[in-house]
């Protein structure tokens, strides 16, 4: 964009390339470019060096959200359920959240409801140990819903502030596995009708257009309250979250920026928009 002095077709092409390569998707990229063209006309912008700030403000506008605050409700305990496709960073993110809450003086309990994948329970136990929080677990292969039930029951009796339920990775295309998640929700509601108070969908920043379909289907089955976008410490931009916000109105609440326990940040629409040009 800096190379061009005036705003012409080449500059618009360059904008399109930036947006598409950031995984915005064709439809969303075209929409944003139309908005920018409109503003260029209305605000009588002549210099192309003003375009980056136009783009940043257009993207920030879409992504800003009052409900994007990640925090605890007054519920005791506040129940967070972590869901998402395989390998997107759910278990690691739970470890990070656990430490954050404990540092805030909260009593945290983790529920090892991934009873399927090899060493999933052991992996969560290492994170619980690192965060210095407790974990409720059953034998590998046991019913995920019963682990969730026992976790919430234990939390209630121990006066826990926040329970975080880890679930097995699954593809949104697998109806049986989506049903399994619904069963976990149902079982939590037997103890607390408002649980889970937060259902976070984890998305890998390297995922392309399929992330929109993931969000659609997971939302359709489970009413998601927020997204966690992981692996933003790589070179992928995660631009698909703009299409997700526009279509489904699900806000990004947290981002993962590394594999260490403190590599968790609150989502900032401004910072995200700013990073598009890096």
């Amino acid at each position: 964009i800096r190379r061009h002095v005036k705003i012409d077709d080449d500059m618009i092409d360059e904008l399109e390339e930036i947006l598409i390569q950031a995984d915005f998707g064709v439809g969303t990229s075209l929409k944003i470019i139309e908005n920018i063209k409109k503003r260029i006309k209305e605000e009588k912008i002549k210099e192309s060096n003003q375009v980056p700030s136009l783009l940043k403000s257009e993207v920030t506008k879409i992504l800003m959200s009052e409900e994007a605050r990640f925090g605890l409700s007054d519920a005791k305990p506040h129940v967070i359920m972590m869901i998402g496709v395989n390998g997107t960073g759910k278990t690691t993110t739970i470890g990070k959240m656990a430490l954050r809450f404990r540092k805030e003086g909260k009593k945290v309990l983790l529920g090892a409801s991934d009873t399927f994948r090899a060493a999933a329970i052991e992996q969560l136990e290492v994170w619980a140990d690192r965060a210095k929080v407790d974990v409720v677990r059953h034998a590998s292969g046991s019913d995920p819903a019963s682990v969730a039930f026992d976790s919430l029951k234990a939390a209630k009796s121990r006066g826990t502030d926040v329970v975080i339920i880890d679930t097995a990775g699954r593809l949104h295309t697998n109806i049986n596995l989506m049903q399994e998640l619904k069963k976990i929700r149902k079982v939590l509601k037997k103890i607390m009708p408002d649980a889970p108070h937060e259902t976070l969908l984890s998305l890998d920043a390297t995922t392309g257009q399929n992330a929109l379909q993931q969000a659609r289907i997971f939302k359709q089955h489970l009413d998601i309250t927020g997204l966690v976008v992981t692996k933003l410490d790589g070179t992928a931009k995660g631009g698909i979250i703009v299409a997700i916000k526009e279509e489904l109105n699900v806000p990004v609440k947290l981002i993962g920026v590394g594999e260490k326990i403190d590599d968790l940040r609150d989502f900032s629409a401004k910072e995200f928009a700013g990073a598009l040009f890096e």
């Binding site: 390998g87 997107t88 290492v126 257009q209 992928a236 594999e259």
Partner: protein
């Protein structure tokens, strides 16, 4: 879907017309959009569409098919030629054991793929062996050991060691002693921009000289596929690619991006979480999937 879209674009080009620059421009736009929506990289798509244009302009439209079908056929054939040949299985080394190293980004499916390949080669009469080279991820070693146990394949580890090169060297020596003839080295997920971790995997390559390095990539990867594939290839000159999680509904355009940018063959695909969910790569099936 693409064929219908192209048919509607060409519906006024009747009978024995020729495909010319004018009537093909709209078709090329539709093709470009289809590829971008399938996650094919922006620049790879641009290059591809130009190749299609060169092949399509001046083509006679055969009586038996519509111009739209003709263009789809050109696109399909062009995709298949770029995606590479039908898989040739990993070739066994002349001197056992054959050493295969799995590399890739975090969470792409390396550990599971190592288990799948070990099981696959065991079913073909080989004696597989696995090395737990991920010393970072919590319970990564447990994970590989559990997979190994489920298929009765030995897993080598040095308890407490953080020296990945040493673990791999000792592991291969152990495999030889036990008469195992194919060894799979599982490595930690890493970012292509992490100098220290890319250096580690380069040092492992230098120390143990794998016969095959397989880049394991998530089938739903978007535009970033070119960056990661290019960098891993630059550091390691890998031999082949595995594309995972293709049991989902991602179109898999990353396959074309990776193939175009590295010119390396895609060898195996992951189509599920179980260890039997592995298939040989078929370029024609992938081409149809990408086109939607």
């Amino acid at each position: 879907e693409l064929t219908e879209k192209l048919n509607s674009i060409f519906k006024h080009l009747k009978g024995r017309g020729k495909l010319n620059k004018k009537n093909i421009e709209e078709a090329l736009k539709a093709i470009r959009r289809a590829l971008l929506e399938a996650d094919v990289n922006y620049r790879v798509t641009k290059k591809f569409v130009n190749q299609v244009k060169e092949r399509a302009v001046g083509q006679e439209v055969l009586k038996s098919i519509t111009p739209g079908q003709m263009v789809v056929k050109i696109v399909h054939d062009e995709l298949i030629s770029l995606l590479g040949q039908e898989t040739k299985d990993i070739k066994m080394a002349s001197q056992p054991p054959t050493i295969i190293m799995m590399v890739g980004l975090q969470g792409s499916g390396k550990t599971t793929m190592a288990g799948k390949l070990a099981r696959y080669f065991k079913s073909k009469g080989k004696l597989p062996f696995m090395i737990a080279g991920d010393v970072y991820r919590p319970a990564a070693i447990d994970q590989l050991q559990i997979l190994g146990k489920s298929i009765d394949v030995p897993v080598f580890t040095i308890s407490g060691s953080k020296n990945v090169v040493k673990i791999c060297q000792k592991g291969i020596a152990d495999a030889r002693r036990q008469g195992r003839n194919i060894v799979f080295i599982d490595t930690a997920g890493r970012l292509h921009i992490d100098e220290k971790m890319m250096d580690e995997v380069s040092r492992v390559k230098k120390a143990v000289n794998p016969h095959e390095i397989l880049f394991v990539a998530d089938g739903m990867t978007g535009q970033d596929a070119v960056n990661t594939a290019r960098e891993f290839n630059r550091h390691l000159e890998f031999d082949g690619v595995c594309l995972t999680k293709l049991d989902g509904d991602a179109r898999g355009g990353a396959a074309l991006s990776i193939a175009q940018v590295t010119k390396k063959p895609i060898k195996y695909i992951g189509v599920g979480e179980r260890l039997d969910a592995i298939e040989l790569f078929h370029p024609d099936r992938m081409a149809s999937r990408i086109l939607g």
